[in-house]
Symmetry: C2
DNA sequence: CCGGCAGTGGGTAACGTTTTTCAAATGTGT
DNA sequence: ACACATTTGAAAAACGTTACCCACTGCCGG
């Protein structure tokens, strides 16, 4: 009969006693190390199973390894991050590593607390997804534990990076809209003041790509950036600002799907229809974008692949911490759906 | 200048040497224990700051505590779980406990691996959100580490539970639809074969509540349950099955928002409009349900509150493992939106 | 027949922290 | 000035695991 007693943990000593061998031998069996005969090995395995022994990770950690990979996610609600995580765990499945994650909640102090906590827990490797911490902080972490940074453009010799080519992604969106006949294309951007982060964060690169693409299409004069935030409310606010103007742009490039959602809501409330009155494109190709009734044109970042690459790089770096840093850049693809269409009144070609 | 050297961790010994005291004294300062004068305390604090010392959790764990709370989430994509997590971390903020989570991916083996991993890492407490493991497994865990189970109806003397009253929630939906004039109300259920889980899982309780409510409204003959799964595809499939019939019900109660989404997609593809042709209600009041263009009638479970309660119970249990198990049941509320309306052809009242 | 070698198993010392025990120093009341 | 309580700080022993080293057994070749 099972009892309610607090139950002391079974240790390697219990197994050793039960199998009539030394703890050293049990350890050898556990690690598949040489120096144990087949007979002894079998006896120890049997004892392990019978006693239900599981190695205590804290003690293992003191000897160097915890078989744990920590993943910092900025926000658990964004489906893109879920894709990355899925790719990661998929790749790590069967390697003996356990994935645990923590949320940075898009706050620099909270994010730092999470990453520090992972270091303090002796994790063998860290994956930081779209971190907002300073580059110096990232390097401080990477110096202590093998680290891969995902979805951020800053580089370092101390950690690997996997990111999407946001510049190319922005080009895809602009080209798609121009191809439909749009000229006045606005961008909803995430306001960023910190000069260091400015260059490294995806939103900044997307904004750069947008400006560059507009210029290349001869639309330099039409560049129109509205700065809010990469949130649902930010999209709502951005749409409100556009609606307050005398004339609406014919198309809007929202820097993230979540922003596009906020816009769609504001536009619907204002009685405008999409794409008849205005085209809207997002970024990330989240599940909700693909959802039929929404059907948002978006840019797909292949989050699952990104996660897979991150896992691979991290395993390499754990195996040999001296490997030079790799920087992988994936090419995004455009998924055209029903929120983008030719403008109602087509502008006459220039000249 | 910072170097690329691997950087050895600063230990309590380094701090002790720097502050010219024993490690014991440093430990006392760290834990705010008595037995250190104000002067020494200040000196140690200064050394800690100067060296950037952080206690190594693995070593602490060997002495009993890791200041870590583990949260098992079945699925990172479901916003309801994100709400629960937010409530949890909110409540735990400032307590010195760090929250780390792992995903069970709705697989019994993967879930077991995650929970075992948390135990192996010496976590101080566990929150298991909507676990699918057997009750025996849950009790085995709870015997080793303080545990709170969220969103599941089975009870035990070994762990606390926090759950929503799914029976009442189903009543709310049926009452709402009946109030609008519906009689033929179908339920999309999650098929469950395991007899033990059958009674404990939320979907089963919702189905029970639905049947009970239908009977109380004199609609026993109209009870109509379609069994698929609680996924987007499950909703799509359920809708397809209904569409294959000669006559559609006038309203459908999808057991979860994600199921409702799949249904909406299938109905839209079939050229039917909601709520004109058929009313649809969900469950969970996820973010996407509230999203304007979707505007799904749903049942709100107050995930944030649930998480808060779970955190509180867990802290109590950690403080005193002997406390008798609490079982909290929260009352859900209905959020009526635009996917439910009176049926097109109102049935005449009975008799 | 002896020296070396491969293979097997065990003893022991870490790893970084907290807890327990104890001695010294300080203060307090006659 | 003396006994005695109290405070302060240190030494040492755990916690569970692994890595390093050593001892022992057969066995092979010279």
């Amino acid at each position: 009969m099972t009892s309610d007693a607090p139950a002391r943990r079974v240790t390697i000593v219990d197994v050793a006693r039960h199998a009539q061998v030394s703890t050293t031998t049990v350890s050898k069996v556990l690690r598949n190390a040489t120096g144990a005969s087949a007979a002894v090995r079998a006896r120890v395995q049997h004892s392990i199973a019978e006693l239900g022994y599981r190695p205590y990770v804290g003690a293992r950690g003191m000897r160097g390894r915890t078989f744990t990979i920590g993943v910092m996610l900025p926000d658990i609600r964004n489906p893109f991050f879920a894709d990355v995580l899925a790719g990661l765990t998929e790749h790590l499945h069967g390697t003996g590593y356990q994935v645990l994650h923590g949320t940075g909640r898009n706050g620099e102090d909270i994010e730092a607390r999470v990453t520090e906590a992972m270091v303090d827990r002796g994790m063998d490797g860290l994956v930081l997804v779209a971190p907002i911490s300073s580059g110096a902080h990232l390097e401080r972490i990477a110096r202590v534990v093998p680290t891969v940074v995902v979805g951020r453009h800053g580089r370092s010799t101390l950690y690997d990076t996997v990111a999407d080519d946001d510049h190319a992604g922005a080009h895809l969106v602009v080209a798609h809209l121009v191809g439909l006949g749009h000229r006045h294309i606005a961008l909803i951007d995430h306001r960023e003041t910190d000069p260091v982060r400015l260059a490294e964060m995806p939103n900044a690169v997307r904004a750069d790509g947008y400006r560059d693409a507009m210029r290349r299409h001869g639309l330099a004069d039409e560049i129109d950036v509205v700065s809010t935030t990469y949130t649902h409310d930010g999209g709502y606010l951005g749409a409100s600002q556009l609606l307050a103007r005398p004339a609406l742009p014919t198309a809007v490039f929202a820097g993230a799907d979540i922003v596009a959602m906020g816009m769609l809501q504001a536009l619907a409330e204002a009685g405008l229809s999409v794409p008849a009155d205005v085209s809207v494109a997002g970024y990330d190709n989240t599940t909700i974008a693909a959802f039929g009734p929404v059907s948002l044109t978006s840019v797909d970042q292949a989050g699952q692949q990104i996660g897979g690459h991150a896992a691979r790089l991290l395993l390499d770096r754990i195996a040999d911490r001296g490997t030079p840093a790799s920087h992988i850049k994936l090419t995004p693809t455009l998924v055209a759906r029903r929120t983008t269409a030719p403008p109602r009144v087509s502008h006459p070609p220039i000249r």
